[in-house]
């Protein structure tokens, strides 16, 4: 069993979806429980990916491929996970999207990938999202974090509208708001009443963890 878990972790580390699926399948056939595959294989591999990224050895494509390999295995394992799984701990809930009038998704997608890797539950609203939809999703999903992306100097005003609407609905104190996007600055975030600003995805994940006292 140890060899299977090690190989599964190595497949995640190498970002190889095919190998990861194969080792997960072998594990299942040899009677390893899905939860053991997750905790002893996927998580171990992903922790190592994070470490390599932190020390500068890994780049975004390494992260993206590892995250995709992990998602594929999780999808495969999902139907077979026991009902009495023991991970009852509530995952952090993040609602995230790109503002109305803005169709840029790539920065947001990188953040999502890194947050997923950090074990958070993501509600991705996509791009061109109205302020009402942002606020609605925060309320419905009881989100801990709201991430608002805007990439154009013409659309960053939308971020303020969303924060104002949160306040109008009495939800502002219930959720931490982080804003991102190339034209932004710390000063801007402060001005519109956000809790944090991040210049890039790595900083974003760190700041979200800091906002939740997880760092």
């Amino acid at each position: 069993m140890t060899a299977i878990l090690q190989n599964l972790a190595a497949a995640i580390l190498g970002g190889s979806k095919g190998a990861a699926l194969e080792w997960a399948e072998r594990g299942l056939q040899s009677g390893v429980k899905p939860l053991e595959l997750i905790n002893g294989g996927l998580t171990v591999g992903l922790d190592e990916v994070g470490r390599k990224f932190e020390c500068g050895e890994y780049y975004l494509p390494d992260m993206m491929l590892a995250a995709e390999a992990m998602s594929a295995v999780l999808e495969k394992l999902a139907p077979r996970l026991d009902q009495d799984r023991n991970d009852t701990a509530q995952a952090v809930k993040v609602v995230i999207g790109t503002v109305k009038g803005d169709l840029h998704s790539i920065g947001k997608d990188i953040v999502i990938m890194m947050l997923k890797a950090a074990g958070m539950e993501i509600f991705d609203l996509g791009v061109d999202v109205s302020s009402a939809d942002f606020v609605c999703s925060v309320e419905e999903n009881n989100a801990d974090i709201l991430g608002i992306s805007a990439l154009m100097t013409t659309t960053i005003q939308e971020q303020k509208k969303i924060i104002d609407l949160l306040a109008d609905k009495g939800l502002r104190e219930k959720v931490k708001v982080i804003v991102g996007g190339a034209p932004l600055s710390e000063e801007w975030a402060l001005k519109i009443g956000a809790d944090a600003y991040a210049a890039d995805a790595i900083a974003g994940v760190k700041k979200i963890k800091a906002l939740l006292n997880l760092a």
Partner: protein, 476 residues
């Protein structure tokens, strides 16, 4: 003298693969009118994507339309299609600037925009002025229009009419520009700039964008096709892969514009950048910005179109040594490759931070880069063998008419900024750094600028259009 990184065979291959991508993968095209136009011209439907038959693309490429821009002062002429040198201009749409007074960043105000325009107007090397700063003290809903309006009021040079993201903006930008020319027909005959429109990468034309393209093409004004893919994020990571993808974006754009109006003047412009593979942000610290600009210039020429590329660029947040060498490298490639319009003057931090000091220093950088763009003329007169002979028989080069006349023609570069004095002399004269020189120059240029260049009646008309737009936008 020309730097041409791509061979004829390579250009042909790039063209062939581009046609294949457009035929087999196509582009996402939204907006019912654009889809209708393209489908009735022979494009095929594949869900949200439309597939472009190679024959259609080739047909649309066959229309040759010359592009010429005229200054706000019509006697200034930039023949883009027949350009014999590169034209340079400043960056566009930045809302944060580095204040020369305290070296801190702050949000741009209307007065900053006016100052930037007047500095660009006064400096010799910006050939065109792009609405640069996006002021934060104007009503947000009309900020894009106001940028163009106040740029037009403060320079006699050609002015980029603006970057538009939808049909509404295009229609008001055209009205503002037409007011300056005294009517739409005059504007179309002598446009002071182009309308810039960016599709999304990879190969995505949302409804707002296709509507903007259609509205612009109908007007008859020149359009800047402006894909901005980032290698590794929104385009293949290889330079040639990014080049081919943006070429497909250009040609899809061109087909739509030319189907609407076969006489649409087009500028083949691209901002192909690399990504920082750890942060996912566009990198300004990347010599490939200049190199890919050189390739884009060659591709545009292959299609008989004028080109627009990024030149001066840097990752640095200061007008410092890093900014200096990165700009020099990125500016040199496209100019040597004969790019028509080269951008970047005054921008730091990969185009996200504006700096008036850098703008002034960039004038000097472009002066140096352009100094030998045309190479040297090799003929008997220039060689001056008889001058050597005269001096050898007992004369002095300084006392030759040959020396004086060629010096006057600019044979020896004379800078206006920077130091070349020996250390002691430089120290005794106050150890002035180039940024201090730039600050002094900014003060002088602004103090000597003649102010608003348009008649009061035209300015009032523009104000009226802005006010109308502000009210109209609320109901839009």
């Amino acid at each position: 003298m020309r730097f041409e990184p791509l061979s004829g065979k390579e250009l042909q291959l790039i063209h062939d693969v581009t046609l294949k991508i457009l035929q087999q993968t196509g582009a996402v095209v939204e907006g019912s009118e654009a889809r209708e136009i393209l489908l009735s011209a022979g494009c095929l439907e594949d869900g949200r994507r439309l597939l472009f038959p190679p024959r259609l693309v080739e047909d649309c490429l066959n229309h040759q339309v010359a592009v010429t821009l005229y200054g706000v002062d019509e006697s200034i002429v930039l023949p883009l299609t027949e350009a014999t040198r590169s034209y340079t201009h400043n960056f566009g749409s930045v809302s944060v600037l580095l204040d020369p007074c305290d070296n801190k960043i702050r949000e741009a105000l209307l007065q900053d925009l006016i100052d930037f325009v007047r500095i660009s107007d006064s400096l010799p090397h910006p050939d065109m002025v792009v609405p640069s700063l996006r002021p934060t003290d104007l009503p947000e809903e009309i900020a894009s229009l106001a940028m163009t309006a106040y740029t037009l009021q403060n320079t006699v040079k050609p002015v980029d009419i603006g970057t538009a993201s939808d049909r509404w903006e295009i229609s008001y930008l055209i009205r503002i520009a037409a007011a300056v020319r005294g009517g739409l027909q005059n504007l179309v005959e002598k446009p002071m700039g182009t309308l810039s429109i960016s599709p999304l990468s990879p190969l995505n034309f949302p409804a707002d964008i296709t509507e903007a393209v259609i509205e612009s093409a109908r007007s008859g004004l020149p359009i800047t096709m402006l894909p901005c893919p980032t290698r590794g994020l929104t385009a293949p990571v290889t330079l040639v892969g990014g080049l081919v993808q943006q070429n497909a974006e250009q040609l899809a754009f061109l087909v739509l514009a030319r189907l609407v109006n076969s006489k649409t003047p087009l500028v083949y412009t691209c901002r192909l950048a690399g990504a920082n593979m750890r942060t996912g942000c566009v990198s300004g610290r990347d010599p490939d910005i200049g190199f890919s600009g050189a390739c884009v210039a060659q591709l545009a020429r292959y299609y008989g179109l004028p080109s627009g590329v990024y030149g001066l660029d840097t990752g640095s947040a200061q007008p410092d040594l890093q900014s200096g060498f990165e700009r020099a490298i990125n500016g040199l490639y496209p100019v040597l490759a004969g790019a028509t319009l080269v951008s970047g003057m005054g921008a730091l931090n990969a185009g996200l931070l504006a700096s008036a000091e850098q703008l002034v220093i960039d004038d000097e950088i472009y002066a140096m880069i352009r100094h030998r763009q045309k190479g040297i003329t090799v003929n008997e007169e220039a060689i001056g063998a008889e001058v050597v002979s005269a001096v050898m028989r007992g004369g002095h080069f300084l006392a030759q008419e040959h020396t004086r006349s060629f010096m006057r023609k600019g044979e020896i570069y004379t800078g206006t900024l920077g130091n070349e004095a020996p250390y002691e002399e430089w120290r005794v004269n106050g150890s002035v750094a180039i940024r201090e020189q730039a600050q002094e120059k900014i003060r002088t240029l602004l103090a000597n600028h003649s102010g608003v260049v348009l008649d009061q009646s035209v300015c009032s008309e523009i104000e009226q259009i802005l006010e109308e737009a502000r009210i109209d936008k609320k109901g839009w």
